[in-house]
């Protein structure tokens, strides 16, 4: 097992899939010559050439729509959005075309496209560049959404996404790009829709996804050391499909749940998770479900305040203690 960064893990996944399947194409703004705005695709142009690694003009609706059209004929495009925030100018293509084509054609057409890129706040860039649209997009049947938190998951989920025959939207995180972790040398995938218990515990379940998993793991350590509480952390990894069983099994064990996400609270992913727990494990609960999410405002620019706006270790610890009280 090698220890590599989240960024390298994503790149390795794309490299391996480019080698495995000559229908895989990488496309996006600055992905080729510039080596990627976040260097995720660094070196791929040199290795695979301009037919496979394609720089696009700044036309998200145009090039993503083009990728969707190409995927209908069997190409497997992996489209980079410099930020998922920019998906909003291509929303019609991403939702109406990729998400509906199989359904509206009565199953005659598939759309095996991957759209990937960072979707996170916390980088001091203001509201337009800090969107986390996983809940918005996952609310559309026909679309799949995954949010890896570790290098292992980033690679495994990316490979699964590329092999998947439906549109899969991979939401990465610029703050995690340099995080390192163990990644197997041999070929593997992380199937979509399988959550991962990142830390085993008995007193409280924290459900999280994306960087909120990392925050929650740090909070769990403090809760253990300073408060003697044993916390289980469930990493959703995939938003849609959703691994309901792993969430419910954990809640049945701990009887208490705290849901943490970097989205704003209204209609966030955890609104759905809270509904799931109360509908399928109501009798198991010893306390109301609590949530920690970003403070409900457009993302603030001021870095000191943004750090407070988003879920941080202190807020997670404080909320966990309320659930345990």
């Amino acid at each position: 097992m090698a220890v590599i960064s989240y960024r390298e893990a994503l790149r390795a996944a794309m490299r391996e899939e480019l080698k495995r399947d000559d229908k895989v194409v990488i496309m996006g703004e600055e992905v080729a010559q510039f080596n990627g705005a976040y260097k995720v695709t660094e070196g791929l142009l040199k290795e695979f050439g301009p037919k496979r690694i394609v720089d696009t003009p700044i036309s998200e609706a145009g090039f993503i729509g083009l990728g969707i059209g190409a995927s209908m004929l069997g190409i497997r495009p992996v489209m980079e959005l410099m930020f998922w925030s920019f998906s909003y100018v291509a929303f019609d293509q991403i939702v109406n075309n990729a998400g509906n084509i199989r359904y509206m054609s009565g199953g005659l057409i598939n759309c095996p496209i991957v759209i990937r890129g960072p979707a996170n706040g916390g980088t001091n860039v203001g509201a337009t560049h800090s969107h986390t649209p996983e809940a918005i997009l996952a609310s559309h049947p026909g679309i799949k959404v995954v949010c890896p938190a570790t290098p292992y998951d980033a690679k495994g989920l990316m490979k699964a996404a590329i092999r998947d025959n439906d549109p899969v939207y991979v939401m990465e995180n610029t703050i995690l790009y340099n995080d390192k972790g163990e990644v197997p040398d041999e070929d593997y995938i992380v199937p979509l829709g399988v959550a991962d218990v990142k830390r085993v515990g008995t007193d409280l379940t924290i459900v999280a996804h994306g960087r909120a998993v990392i925050t929650s793991l740090k909070a769990a350590e403090i809760l253990e050391k300073e408060h003697g509480v044993s916390v289980e952390v469930v990493d959703l990894r995939s938003i849609r499909p959703l691994d309901e069983e792993t969430i419910l099994a954990s809640v049945r064990k701990t009887h208490r749940a705290l849901l943490v996400e970097e989205n704003k609270p209204f209609c966030g992913v955890d609104a759905q998770v809270a509904y799931l727990i109360q509908s399928k494990a109501f009798d198991e609960l010893d306390a109301p479900i609590h949530r920690v999410s970003s403070i409900d405002a457009p993302q603030i620019y001021c870095k000191r305040m943004e750090d407070l706006q988003m879920p941080n270790v202190e807020r997670v610890v404080a909320e966990a203690l309320k659930v345990l009280a």
């Binding site: 696009t56 059209g69 075309n97 509206m104 199953g107 995938i189």
Partner: protein, 368 residues
């Protein structure tokens, strides 16, 4: 400010239909008698299918929107009659004519309108969303202009796979003002993609005439110059002209892998959709003028009568057969079963419909 000269429908195109100047064009002169009759038959079938739809709609059996192609038949007929194995098409919501042209059956088309499981999309798409990928027909798209990038992508795939083919991406005169269309134009030209953007200029986008929607004073196809693309304008009332000029664009796509914008002047006889009372934005006189003097189906019939390819008897036979076919399709569409409640959640995800050890998805994907 002086009103710009609008070339919506140049006067020259309004001349009464006479012998086509394009009959001798090689793509037309080389057609056999049988091919000409087949082309006329297809145009007549579109006409009668659409007219039958009106009756079913008025009986309340078709829900939602119904956009008719009556008056525009020569556009789909002329362009699609030229296509080969690796040529693909995609269009907007006025999509019945294209469907019949690629060889979809009247039954599956009609049953889609009445929302039956026997419809081409199993009752999941409706009038605006016909699909027949086995016939290189990729829809049927309800969002104005949204199909232009998809068509460009189909052309990209054709090129990527090393095939000698193309994609014809149709849209209306209103669609050309959508950003996605301009992004697609730029990509198509920048990457030398074998796509032909076919602007079916019927003069109106819903109730807005072209001069009220488009700042550019020249014809709409001329915008191609801004993207370094070839373009042409076509009289869409003459199916021979449509074929002759489309053939040039197709050759450009096949031989040079270059895109083209074709603007085809045409006219719709009925309202924008059946929901449009058609009372506020154009004269009845204008419609009458087109119907009587420029009708593309009649014009082609006359052409073939003059060429002695058709006889009045044969024409009558063709039209009666098309009407009978549409009548039968109406009965089929009426008597076919609805999809079931269980069908609502099918065809959302490939992986869900095909779950097995090889699929990459687990977990819950359809929620209660």
């Amino acid at each position: 400010m002086a009103k710009p000269a609008v070339l919506t429908h140049p006067e020259s195109l309004k001349r009464p239909a006479g012998p086509s100047e394009y009959a001798k064009d090689p793509v037309n002169a080389s057609m056999s008698k049988a091919e000409k009759i087949a082309l006329y038959t297809k145009m007549a079938r579109i006409r009668h299918f659409e007219q039958r739809c009106i009756r079913i709609y008025q009986q309340g059996k078709i829900g939602g929107f119904l956009h008719l192609y009556v008056g525009q038949e020569a556009v789909a007929a002329g362009t699609i009659s030229l296509l080969g194995k690796h040529d693909h098409i995609i269009t907007g919501y006025r999509d019945h004519g294209h469907g019949l042209m690629v060889g979809m059956g009247m039954n599956e088309c009609m049953a889609e309108l009445t929302g039956r499981v026997t419809g081409c999309s199993q009752g999941k798409g409706g009038s605006m969303h016909y699909f027949a990928p086995d016939k290189n027909y990729w829809g049927g798209h309800g969002i104005v202009g949204g199909q232009a990038p998809l068509g460009t992508g189909l052309a990209y795939a054709v090129k990527y796979l090393g095939l000698k083919g193309s994609c014809l991406a149709y849209m209306g005169d209103g669609a050309v003002n959508q950003g996605a269309v301009h992004e697609a134009y730029n990509l198509a030209s920048l990457w030398d993609l074998p796509v032909i953007f076919v602007v079916e200029n019927n003069g109106y986008s819903m109730g807005t005439s072209q001069e009220r929607s488009t700042a550019h004073p020249g014809c709409l196809a001329k915008r191609a110059e801004g993207y370094n693309m070839a373009w042409d304008v076509i009289n869409g009332h003459d199916v021979y002209e449509v074929r002759a000029k489309t053939a040039i664009a197709l050759k450009r796509a096949h031989e040079e892998s270059k895109p083209t914008v074709l603007e085809i002047f045409t006219y719709r006889y009925f309202g924008h959709s059946m929901a449009d009372p058609d009372k506020t934005y154009r004269d009845k006189e204008e419609i009458k003028e087109y119907r009587e003097k420029k009708d593309p189906v009649l014009a082609f019939e006359q052409e073939l009568l003059r060429e002695k390819v058709l006889t009045p008897e044969l024409s009558l036979q063709i039209n009666e057969a098309a009407m009978a076919e549409a009548d039968k399709a109406a009965v089929f569409a009426d008597e076919s079963p609805d999809p079931t409640v269980a069908d609502i959640t099918k065809h959302i995800y490939w992986e869900e419909d095909n779950r097995g050890p090889k699929t990459t998805s687990r977990g819950t994907i359809i929620f209660e």
